[in-house]
Subunit: 179 residues, 2 copies
Amino acid sequence: MNHLYEETLNSELKYDGLILKVCHDTVRLEDNSVAGRDVVLHSGGVGVLPVTDDGNVILVKQFRYPQREVVLEIPAGKLEPGENPLECGKRELAEETGYFSHKIRELGMIFPTPAFCSEIIHIFLAEKIKSLPRRQGLDKDEFLDVIEMPFEEALRQVVAGEIKDAKTQIALLKAKLIL
Amino acid sequence: MNHLYEETLNSELKYDGLILKVCHDTVRLEDNSVAGRDVVLHSGGVGVLPVTDDGNVILVKQFRYPQREVVLEIPAGKLEPGENPLECGKRELAEETGYFSHKIRELGMIFPTPAFCSEIIHIFLAEKIKSLPRRQGLDKDEFLDVIEMPFEEALRQVVAGEIKDAKTQIALLKAKLIL
């Protein structure tokens, strides 16, 4: 067996949910011993940090049920199967904030929780943004508030621990290095 | 109903795994409509960025089964029920790398995936580190390599997209602001 590698011996679907599937897999480790692995399968997502010409960022506030609190985040959403991440980012930006960007670039991708979940989130920086004629087009079960604040204030909230969402922290910290 | 808030109407345990539980909950939204929520319950974790007196960082490389690749990360581990995050960080640092820190401070906490998972990761910066007499004490099913590299090289790998793990990106980007 290759060093570090884990070979799948068996995979059992345990839950087929609304936005994720959960499997219990059995794997062979590099010393030929056998172990169990919980695996959450997720189709991945996209997050977009929109920055106005005035140097403000557009964030969204929504209730995140697993944390039981209102969380401040960059606009983001789930990739549809086969969807291009950039197109997904533009769609989510329009749906959640009503903005369109004329200059959008990659800030890289992240593994939010590689220990147990397959999710990958692609992060983009959106500049030269303008308001679309028709604001927001949220999903039926989606409620959120759009918040505009100075970039430096958002960064202060990251450093102070007030912005807790991982993709939002990374988007702001990485954008700081290039803006 | 309060603005944005979601009230639990029902919670059904769907999977009770090795390191997580999965529930399907039914919630009441602010407009009194009803929706379903997938919720992954996780006890939380701790990550520690160790920096040597020479300005190198100590990272670990391990196969992350859900991503099917070897991932470079800060030393990290799961919180035991009731465990203090700082004590957990010291324990994981010793177990995974064989180091002890004489100066450890908080870099804040993160919600890696607030959309569907309750996990919180506490991040620490560990300086004045020294090697313990007995190196590493890994779990039975845990294999990893310890890697030492200059802080600036690790930061370059974050910006270049080579370091993909979210907590590791955040630890390095935040440490850059204060070191």
